[in-house]
Amino acid sequence: MTGVRVAGVGLTEFGEHAGRTGRDLFAEAANVALRDAGVDRERVEQLNYGNFMGALAERQSHQAPLMAEAAGLHCPATRYEEACASAGVAVREAVRAVRAGEVDVAVAGGMERMTNLSTERVTESLAVAADELFEVRAGVTFPGAYALMARRYFDRFGGDQTDLAHVASKNHTHALDNEYAQYQREVSVEETLDAPTVASPLGLFDACPVTDGASALVLVSEAAAQRHDLTAPVAITGTGQGSDRAALQDRETIAETPAARRAATAAYDDAGITADDVAVAEVHDCFTIAEVFALESLGLYEPGEAVGAARRGETTRDGELPVNLSGGLKAKGHPVGATGGSQIAELTRLLRGDHPNSEWVSDAEVGVTHNAGGTVASAVVHVLEVAG
């Protein structure tokens, strides 16, 4: 089995791209990634593309061939949809294709257009990631579902809204120098606590923003990296995926996210590492509480311990385990179908040393990404290592 290297990464700015089409956004990200990799377009043998709500936002399904066309690629193209984990799954399947020796060069990533919809329509569109029969018809919203999880967590383990506000504030601080971030500004703990309630106990500043954006990665086999003399010092050494019952009510627990635990266990086994080896993480903080679930599922904290991690300064950029140095979904933004690719792009830059926040993890050799779909009915974890 061949190893997989990240030869190139590409992102659009995350934020509001009024007047731009989805295909234009993805074309930009793919262009940047291919240039970063120094790989000719003709060598790309497969496009794995993540997108969640294109049929609702742009009245466009069957997007993968369109995106290949927009990016000037001539290869089989497939769209992956797993709600907010769409790009994570797209990357995972590209990794598996390269490892299997089926392709030497793949492009993987995703795109989402969201800001062209009203808040009500975005709320409605995101809610379709939940169980239509048992949740959506009962008025469960996406923030509402995470609020149900947060309340259950607080009741079982403790923690409070102030703990969560520290997660928000931390991630905004991390985004200050990230040129791709939607919000390059500080948000204080007090501001977060004072924000209007969206779904108690979560407020507006506990939630990630609505975002347009695209991400792309060029993934190559180690043999191809050598053959074409590519500079690709970061390897994807582990991939894992987990699933769970769609509706929260049907899960084994609402105060934890077992699908992500299963994904992490599989990814660590795949890479031959343990949680103790992880020095930096990009995790799926669509809501502040989601970062807490992520850190516990990844085994970086025991259940009930991660809620105070940001407040204690452990996951801040100068802490022992910096989390979401990109700003996370919270401050960098969350174009749903692009996020899983964006996390790997950011972690690659952090490990390569060309991220504005690389200085905080200059000794890091191993990092993980955690990408979650819906209320973590889907989860994808990747292990990235500096391979030299």
Binding site: L133, R151, A199, S200, Q249, D250
Partner: protein, 129 residues
């Protein structure tokens, strides 16, 4: 006006019908509870499912007062969404007859099916007992 959900109402009607009147859930020979409509037990795959009476009272497991809602629920905000445990199964619905600050984890409620005033759709609701 009917729901107009793109998938149609067939599955949802079966679910709402199961809750109307006395209410039932599904149980497999191993005793795993699940909610209709369902062909096999989601735990073990057994397709021999029997209808069992839903306990009259359930206990709130978690809840949230929702202030930002999709169009079908926008006129009701803030409303309280709750997950309620009725013996071997859990249901999700909207709490009626209690204000948000009157709901707690552990609050006892019963289940009912009513109409969403905005759309005419059937809606799972919990009422204090």
């Amino acid at each position: 006006m009917s729901d107009g959900a793109p998938g149609g109402d067939a599955g949802y009607d079966e679910w709402a019908d199961a809750l109307a009147e006395d209410g039932y859930y599904l149980s497999c020979p191993a005793g795993h509870g699940s909610l209709p409509p369902r062909r096999v037990c989601p735990e073990c795959g057994n397709d021999s499912l029997s209808e069992e009476p839903l306990p009259a009272a359930g206990e709130v497991v978690t809840f949230s007062a929702v202030h930002v809602a999709p169009p079908d629920f926008a006129e009701q905000t803030p409303y309280v969404t709750a997950v309620v445990e009725f013996g071997p199964v859990r249901l999700t619905g909207i709490v009626r007859g209690l204000d948000a600050d009157e709901v707690e984890i552990g609050t006892q409620v019963g289940v009912d099916v009513t109409r969403n005033e905005a759309t005419g759709n059937r809606l799972v609701v919990f009422r204090p007992r």
